[in-house]
């Protein structure tokens, strides 16, 4: 069964999570995906023993900076604890979780300071994970290109694709 924050959208390429959506699944056939990540950061967590995994499509680093509802996985500081809690509820253990990050690109070449949302999202994700004793197994962060990240629940395989380039496995 796959738990998502919103209506499930199954396609041959997997359950695509829109901005601020997250999903947890123990379905061996499920593929979770964050498509067209720019400055957004996607996190995947997978426990190979409990055979459960999850993903979140995070847009902004800090829920205290805005004035919109912090529901779902929109903010990194809300999404990571939420995803972890849901996975632990399904039998996942922190020490077994394989965690990957992708995204956080700087889409505008000459942006600076507060505009560098991609960099700030990546930094916030590292902080939130470290605070929960989770280390990042592999990541594809930064740069100036959009990415698509997928997690296959059955195998725990995590891939990142950039248009026109070869798929990489994290």
């Amino acid at each position: 069964m796959t738990t998502t924050a919103t209506t499930e959208k199954r396609s041959p390429l997997g359950t695509a999570l829109s901005l601020g959506e997250w999903a947890v699944s123990a379905d061996a056939d499920a593929v979770l995906a964050c498509v067209g990540l720019g400055s957004c950061v996607a996190v995947t967590m997978h426990d190979p023993v409990a055979k459960v995994g999850g993903m979140a499509h995070m847009v902004l680093p800090d829920s205290t900076a805005g004035r919109s509802p912090a529901a779902g996985a929109k903010f990194v500081d809300v999404a990571i604890p939420l995803l972890l809690e849901e996975l632990q509820g399904r039998g996942a253990l922190v020490r077994r979780l394989r965690v990957c990050l992708a995204g956080g690109a700087q889409m505008l070449q000459n942006s600076s300071g507060a505009m560098q949302i991609g960099q700030r999202n990546g930094d916030a994700a590292h902080q939130q994970l470290a605070a929960r004793s989770l280390s990042v197994s592999a990541e594809s962060l930064g740069g100036t290109r959009g990415r698509t990240m997928r997690l296959a629940i059955g195998t725990g395989r995590v891939t990142v694709t950039v248009p026109g380039e070869q798929e990489i496995e994290l």
């Binding site: 901005l19 498509v35 720019g38 505008l108 290109r145 959009g146």
Partner: protein
């Protein structure tokens, strides 16, 4: 946004878009007919579905706005539409441009300059706000990645935004495309508070 505020914003975007088309028309020396104009309230998370999906390769023309309010605007097109514009701007036969060359990017940047200036001028005239566009940035990537540039800012304030979708065409060749204006919340707030204040 309340209905009267929504109507005000729709009127302003309509005005701005008509003026942007006038500017574009002057730039290419041909009449441009606006065939359809729609302003929709849409969840930010679903914007990419209006431009062919998050993974669809797209061309974005991005401008920041400074002056009485800071904000940004983005025009986003499927590549075939963007290339059709390039051919039109450079007075080339249709389908001449098939990839994003530096010359094509430069032509689209010029188009962004004209559309941005004419769009903002119309809004400035109607509201009395001084709004200036930055030089445009032309980007090619997946629609989702391009849209992150504007959506992250919007999501700080709201889960919804307003998408202006304009379909237009020139008389002498088969070209039409969607013209999206995605304002930042700051720009929207400044424009609407000014409008409502001046109407009161």
């Amino acid at each position: 946004m309340s209905d009267p505020a929504m109507q005000k914003w729709a009127d302003l975007v309509s005005l701005g878009t008509a003026n942007a088309m006038t500017g574009l028309s002057q730039m290419i020396g041909q009449a441009i007919e606006v065939r359809e104009f729609a302003l929709e309230q849409v969840p930010v998370a679903s914007i990419s579905q209006h431009v062919g999906g998050a993974e669809a390769q797209s061309v974005g023309i991005y401008l920041t706005v400074t002056g009485a309010a800071d904000g940004h605007l983005m025009l986003i097109y499927e590549p075939r539409i963007a290339f059709a514009f390039v051919d039109l701007l450079m007075m080339q036969a249709p389908d001449t441009t098939t990839e994003m060359t530096p010359m094509a990017a430069s032509a689209l940047g010029e188009m962004g300059n004209v559309i941005g200036a004419f769009f903002l001028n119309a809004i400035a005239d109607a509201t009395g706000l001084s709004l200036r566009p930055s030089p445009p940035t032309v980007m090619t990537d997946m629609a989702g990645a391009l849209l992150d540039v504007v959506t992250a800012d919007i999501l700080l304030y709201s889960d919804d935004t307003y998408l202006a979708d304009t379909t237009f065409a020139t008389a002498d060749r088969d070209i039409s495309g969607a013209f999206f204006v995605i304002p930042s919340q700051g720009l929207l707030d400044a424009i609407l508070s000014n409008q409502i204040a001046s109407a009161a």
